[in-house]
Subunit: 404 residues, 2 copies
């Protein structure tokens, strides 16, 4: 890591707590001196099976700063039964439901809380639609730092219980995620908090790159043809593209022609709408309404950059409604044994829709990122009739149930 | 694997669907010819990071039968902050909350469903207090086999939603786990179902041994001094002891003097009661009543064998009440960032009690097995006051919340 650099005007800054360009107010990104980085495929072989195996490409200087709960290196699951159902040959699920706090957010949170420790901050926090709240809180607990999370009042109860059990102070806002985000940002400044996706954001997003690194390594150092990414703020999608770029730049993969598609829910699809309408600008959604609450970010911070990345990669944007999300949850669980939340499975729902529209070649090697756990949202999954009738413990009742 | 062998009279049987000795009605165990097994520490090094890395010691003949969702090789988490709080030097948490269906039950379920496939069975099932239901259902989904799970009517809602989402048929019994167990066993016979913890039980329990194997390997091939095991049927505890024995027998660890302690909840502690009262026989609990519903097994199948194993190893039995379970959940989450259910964290609660009673030396290397995920039981964790007050998104409200 050599500097922070403005995404718009390229001005460079030291690697401290800056996150916005003083000149043009563009966002800052971490840049590395790739020419000095000597890594080979073998470099990673005997490393721990978590995201820190790629530490040369993560923005932490001192290994003693690392706050690790074991995030990353989650299973890349060959999904033959699902593939057959959808008419594909080579489908994989990247199962990030088994991270330490059960969503992909453990990746950026692990990096950001490590950075907070490295920068000597005495407390951390985050605005969150739910998953980041627990990821931040758990890593803060592991680091022994106080943690403040800012959530919209109406997120799923299990997510609130989880985050507060790690000891975080929960600040439930009478408003949307965007309101929570604004308040967290102000609180960061006033109370000198490290806001993981605010003033620590340049470092934070680097954690999500590892979702590209791992897929390449797990496929035997061959990148997929097409990946489908659940999209809220757009940060994950951009980070994944950067990951593929870096692996190519370092010679770890031969070429990078990965199509990256963005998956959003109807009810909060500002990035997909821009893609489908041929716009470069993203129009915020004022009142997101979707079952996929973890993606209910109306004013996506990396929206326009995400649109650009999808277009450049040759991917698509597609959106699905609540019913399609519920169906995808059941389809993925019943074919592959992976239990996801609506926001985590939107990639699978969109894949199905892209296939129906003839936009996926049956031979393409496709990876769906599945980013959050179904136990976080049982009320979203439990549709009419899922609660079983109670029967007496008598053999004769089974004749109606077991028909074989 | 050479045979199934009666634990009581040592009579041997072929490795098919037998599980009870025809002579003496003793339970059958899998036996291996250790003298023919050539494995070294290096044998396992480049293997996949899941329980199948130990396939020589698992009862599946044909690797093509394996049904793998990535169970096992979960993090062994050095718990320095928790250790300090408790006054220990060397404490580790074996975090089985991050298995594919979020409990340790994925281990035996993966082995049992693999065996069902190897034996050519066309459907599987299990009685369950909740966690095994999902573990069986998910592995059945992965294998494309129909699945029937038998649960007491009053288990936690998230567990029911999860298991049914994998596509399992849920049979909710107006009765206890013991009633569900009996009915499942009869159904297995009548409908030719592979009941993973019934007629496939000898193979099933082998999966749990890997919790001993992994701890040894993760500690650099040195066994811990003391392990604490959440105990329901007793099968897990017995399997863990067998695991340590086998690793010593094969020369993978130098000696096996691991103390094994049993942790149960007040309200269902038949094994701990036998241990504390110096009995060899276990008195069933007719109506279990505990927050730790996953351990509410009143008539434990391996109860007496578990009592024997604890005594022989030099370990203890201890029980904790609901309030101590809730406190342990918060303690583990807020010090180490691990979120567990009551039945999963009973080991940590018991550790605390054993330390208070002076039964643990501060220098002992202790491993607590944490076997199930907190997201499965949010209602058990959510105590008065955990739901935060909703505030307006205004900076001034924070003065009351962020006191720094």
């Amino acid at each position: 890591m050599i500097a922070l650099q403005c995404r718009e005007c390229q001005r460079q800054y030291p690697t401290d707590l800056s996150y916005v360009c003083e000149e043009c107010f563009g966002p800052l990104d971490v840049v590395y001196d790739y020419s000095k980085l000597v890594v080979k495929r073998e470099t990673f072989e005997d490393r721990p099976k978590n995201l820190w195996r790629y530490h040369e490409l993560l923005p932490i200087e001192d290994k003693n700063s690392i706050v690790d709960l074991g995030a990353g290196y989650t299973p890349l699951h060959r999904a033959d039964r699902l593939a057959k159902r959808l008419g594909l040959q080579n489908l994989f699920i990247k199962n990030d439901t088994v991270n330490p706090t059960y969503s992909f957010k453990d990746r950026p949170a692990s990096v950001a809380v490590s950075k907070a420790r490295e920068l000597g901050l005495s407390a951390v926090g985050s605005p969150s639609t739910g998953n980041l709240a627990s990821a931040t809180a758990a890593h803060a607990a592991r680091a022994g730092l106080p943690c403040y999370v800012f959530i919209p009042f109406d997120i799923e109860p299990a997510k609130v219980v989880q985050a507060s059990t790690y000891g975080a102070e929960i600040i439930a806002i009478n408003g949307t995620y965007d309101d929570a985000n604004k308040l967290a940002s102000q609180a960061g400044e006033l109370y000198n908090l490290g806001i993981v996706n605010g003033n620590i954001r340049p470092y934070y997003v680097e954690g999500s790159k590892t979702l590209a690194f791992e897929v390449c390594e797990q496929l035997g150092w061959i990148p997929p043809d097409h990946v489908i990414v659940p999209t809220g703020s757009g940060a994950l999608l951009c980070a994944i593209r950067k990951g593929f770029y870096e692996f190519e730049r370092l010679g770890l993969i031969k070429s990078n022609e990965v199509k990256i598609s963005s998956a959003q829910p109807v009810g909060c699809s500002p990035i997909v709408d821009a893609l489908q309408q041929g716009r470069t600008s993203v129009t915020p959604v004022e009142r997101p309404q979707t079952l996929a609450k973890s993606l209910a970010i109306g004013d996506p911070g990396d929206g326009e950059f995400a649109v650009k990345n999808v277009r450049e990669s040759g991917g698509f944007g597609e959106k699905v409604n609540d019913e399609e999300l519920r169906q995808a949850i059941h389809l993925l669980a019943s074919t592959e044994g992976i239990f996801a939340e609506p926001g985590g499975v939107v990639s699978v729902a969109v894949l199905s829709k892209l296939i129906d529209a003839g936009r996926i070649d049956p031979d393409e090697l496709v990876v769906c990122y599945v980013t959050g756990n179904g136990l976080k949202t049982p009320e979203a999954i439990s549709i009419e009739g899922i609660q079983p009738a109670v029967v007496e413990p008598k053999l004769e009742v089974l004749a109606q149930i077991i028909r074989r």
